[in-house]
Each structure stands twice: as C-alpha cells, then as structure tokens.
C-alpha cells in the first residue's frame, strides 16, 4: 500500500503544525476586522488585511456535517480506514475545519455533536488535528 499523504508545511503554515506538535491548537485572527480564519493564510478572507495574529484556541466545536464513505474509488491510501469517519467541524470561533472522528462508532456520529481535538502524532514532524466526542 502507498504511504499516506502527510501535510508538507510552508513557512506561513508552520506555526499551526508546530502548535499541534506541542499539544496546542492555534489559528489565525485578523487584527483589522477580528475575523477568525482557517486554514492559515497570508490575508484575511473577510477584509484581505495581511495583518493576522496566531491565537491559541481550545479547539472545541460541533459537527457541521459528516460522511462515511464505504467505497473510495480514488483514495486508495485510506482503504485501511474504510468506512472512513469524515467530518467537518465548526469550531466555536466560527471557521469550519475538515477532519476525521476517532473514538466513536459511525452510528453515534451526528450533526450538532460536541467534539474536542484528538491530536494524532503521525510522524516526527506532523500531528494531525482529528476530533473525538467532547
């Protein structure tokens, strides 16, 4: 089986991944209009200001939607995870984040479910931000 594709941080996104390695969730906030931003970017998605600050958040949120693919014609990397527990989490700060659920049965996943981060160290450099029931 092919190796799973891991994130390759850029100089801009590195603080996000560094924080996860330290057990912390950090996302950006705009100093001009106070919008929260995910994923990490160079400019605010509300006002296009380049003046953004990294802020520590607790990473809790609710499941906005989910999918549990039973057949994956394109993503052969994830064949060992079938059926996948794919979720979109709406962070309490507002932004949505694509991820996976762990420590839960598919039948127990529901929209509106409270979730908290599950930091999954998958390599020396990378910790993935997955979620589990809060």
């Amino acid at each position: 089986m092919l190796n799973k594709p891991f994130p390759r941080p850029t100089s801009l996104t590195q603080p996000f991944w560094d924080a996860l390695n330290e057990g912390i969730v950090k996302i950006q906030k705009c100093n001009n209009c106070n919008s929260w931003i995910f994923y990490p970017r160079s400019h605010c998605t509300n006002c296009l200001s380049p003046d953004l600050t990294w802020k520590k958040i607790n990473g809790t949120g609710t499941i906005y939607t989910y999918s549990t693919p039973e057949i994956l014609p394109t993503a052969s990397f994830f064949v060992d995870e079938l059926p996948q527990k794919i979720v979109v989490v709406e962070l309490d700060e507002g932004p949505r984040i694509p991820s996976n659920m762990v420590n839960v049965e598919i039948k127990d996943i529901w929209i509106g479910m409270r979730v908290k981060p599950f930091l999954d160290k998958v390599s020396d450099d990378i910790t993935l931000l997955r979620f589990e029931p809060a």
Binding site: S67, E70, F77, P98, S99
Partner: protein, 401 residues
C-alpha cells in the same frame, strides 16, 4: 446589461459514449477535438475558414498554451482564444463566453470543444498518472491548501464531498431516499429513449436504486454517474451567420456564473449553492420566468445535485425538492422534463465533456433533432453546469425563435 440574445448555437458535434477499457480511447485529445470540430461545423453548415473564435478545456497533451496548440493542429486562425477551467461548469461557461465574444464583435463563429480528457499514455505517463489519480481533482502540490488540510484527512473523492452535502441537507430539510432514487429512475427512462446513451435499453426502478450498493451514505451507486469516454462541441454564430444555417438556432439569451470555493466545506452558506446566484442572473437577463421553461437540463453528477439545483435555481422552494420530484414526472414526455438525454446519470459522464451533454441536448431539442425523446414544444431551455463539489456553477438560457 448582459446578453441581447444575438448569438445562437447552430451546430452540434458529439461522440457516442463508450465504456472505458484498455484501448479506449485510441486517439489523443487533439485528434478528438479535431473530429468534434468537423462534426459540429458540418452540422452547422460551416467550414473551418468560417471559425474565428475558439474555446477549449484542458488537453492531455499539454498543460499550457492550449488554444494555440489547438488552432495550429486544426489549421485555423482565431480572433478570440480561451481556456475555461471550471470543471463540470466549463461547458456552460464556454457557451456564455462565446456568446459575449460574438455580441462584442470579437468573433462571428466560435467553436466550444471539450474532448474526453483521456488519451493513450506512455509507461512513464501511466506512472505519473497513477501517483496523481488518488487525489482526484484536488492538488497535492506543495503549498496547495488541499494538499495540506484536506487530503491528509481523506477529504478527497467526489463521493465523500457530495455525501457531506447530502447529510447536511438531510439535517436541515429532511431526506427521502425514494425521491432521490426517482431522479435516477426518470433520468434512466430518458436514456432509454436516447439511442446515444450508455444506459440505453437498461431501465431501472426505485427498488433497483435503493438496492444498489451504498457508496457513501445516503448516496447509492445508481445515484452516481459512471465515467465513460466521449466528447462534445457546439458552434455559436452571430445573427448574420445564423441566417445561413439550416438548423433552427438556439439563441443564448441569459447567463450567470458563480465561483466560490475549491472545497465546499469552506463555503459560509453551505447549502445555498452557487447555482442560485448564477440562475437568478440568467433568468433576469433573459427576461423569462421559471414557468416559461420547457426543458430543464441541470448538471447531474449525483441525484442530490439535481435536487438542489431545482431548488436553488428556483423551480421549487428550498427544502421542497424531495416532494417536487415525487409529484412531477421528470421524463421527456412528463409534465416537467429534466435532462431529456438521460443526463450524465443515463447518458454517461464523458469527463468534462459530460457538462457539454446538457448543452448539446438543449440545442438539439430546440432544433427539433432529438430522438424518441424529442419534446413536442421546446422553445425555452435552462441549462446548468457544476464544477467540483458544487463549488463553481453556471447557468444559461437557450431559446428558439
């Protein structure tokens, strides 16, 4: 503001879809594009010297300089060359760009061509393709947001993305599996009246759909398109050139487009799809009402796409789509014909050219050149295109005289 309806589709070129298997296709995209151009121009009663505008999508032989590569191969010179990169919305968006170019006086005859996206491959190309294929339409290059934040979590395939939409839809508005199944059934009925369709001669029932394999709940296999080999082209022309054509023209009277996000989960208004804004603009431009439409040709990669397009384009209220499709007959001889060619669900998804199948059928119906599936009085047609996970969408209105 907007189009004045002074250009029309007057020619169609289309391959009959074929199952993808070793040896299919045996032609490169440039060869496919050439044959599609010949077919469309012949249908229009025009020759290559008449063409002075060209819009294409990607070709597998080259990642750049695509319009000039195609004009050189065809031996034509154009005054307007363009590439449209809007996924399944490309075909519809090509048509309005062609119409705009003609109305501006940039061109008199514009070819819009989409090949299959498939070509014979050398061994090293097969290896590169095998590495890229698992990422589908997401980019796994360094610095790509999808590579960093979607792909590592398995947010890749279309099936999963459309399931995310369907699950949220179910949460907000409710979900009736028999209703989405009926969309697939009515599309298949239309395909059975179209000898060109890949599923011609293979009718299905609601039970067949519900008993087909669950791919990503609530999406069953028969609610999802099957990729096939194909390709399609249309010729648009100015009023002066239209007058020379034998075909009844399909005038482009309205258009709209909305490009939003690459990954649908970042869309703030997740369930209000881009087709809402695109369709509103198209109808306002054409100056006609939803009830004036004789045939609706919505992009149909999944049944949920059809359902939400009917709602967001304003053919029924938000959250009323399930009841609407159960109460109305969507077949070619029904009270509310939808995708009379069978849609891509019934005709086959010919790559990016699948989006063109909605356009070619719309024009064919207005020309009165459809098969058993010909609609008796077809003057006003709505066509939509959808790229990605309903991330970019476009709409056009085509009208007969």
């Amino acid at each position: 503001m907007g189009l004045k309806g002074k250009s029309a589709i007057i020619g169609i070129g289309e391959f009959k879809p074929e199952k993808i298997r070793p040896g299919v296709p045996d032609t490169f995209t440039l060869e496919q594009v050439s044959e599609l151009a010949r077919l469309a121009l012949t249908d229009a009663g025009l020759g290559p010297k008449d063409v002075n505008g060209l819009i294409v999508s990607g070709i597998s032989e080259s990642a750049y300089f695509i319009p000039s590569t195609v004009t050189e191969y065809l031996g034509i010179k154009v005054d307007f060359g363009d590439v449209v990169d809007l996924g399944g919305a490309s075909a519809v968006s090509m048509v309005w760009r062609a119409a705009a170019a003609i109305e501006m006086g940039m061109a008199d005859v514009v070819l819009c061509i989409i090949g299959s996206g498939l070509s014979p491959m050398s061994q090293d190309e097969i290896e590169i393709f095998s590495e890229q294929k698992p990422f589908g339409s997401s980019s796994n290059l360094w610095g790509s947001p999808q590579a960093e934040f979607d792909i590592p979590y398995g947010h890749i395939a279309q099936n999963s993305g459309y399931a995310l939409i369907a699950q949220r839809y179910a949460h907000e508005y409710g979900y009736d599996q028999r209703a989405t199944a009926k969309i697939a059934v009515d599309h298949r009925t239309n395909a059975c009246a179209n000898p060109q369709a890949i599923f011609h001669g293979q009718p299905i029932t609601i039970e067949d759909v519900l008993n087909s394999k669950m791919v990503a709940p609530p999406l069953h296999k028969l609610e999802i398109v099957m990729p096939v080999f194909g390709g399609a082209a249309v010729v648009l022309a100015s009023k002066e050139k239209v007058a020379e054509s034998k075909n009844r023209p399909a005038w482009v009277t309205g258009c709209g487009e909305r490009v939003e996000v690459k990954s649908r989960h970042y869309a703030k208004d997740f369930l209000n799809t881009p087709i809402a804004a695109a369709s509103e603009r198209a109808f306002n431009m054409a100056g006609i009402k939803r009830r004036d439409i004789d045939l609706v040709q919505p992009y149909d990669c999944y049944t949920i796409t059809v359902l939400m397009t009917l709602e967001d384009a304003g053919f029924c209220g938000k959250g009323e789509g399930m009841a609407f499709v159960l109460e109305n007959d969507l077949t070619y001889n029904g009270n509310f014909p939808v995708n009379s060619h069978g849609g891509q669900l019934g005709f086959g998804q010919t790559g990016l050219a699948g989006g063109m199948s909605h356009v070619t059928e719309a024009a064919r119906q207005i020309m009165g050149k459809a098969h058993v599936n010909q609609i008796e009085r077809c003057n006003n047609v709505y066509v939509s295109g959808t790229g990605g996970i309903m991330c970019e969408q476009s709409a056009i209105i085509l009208q007969g005289d």
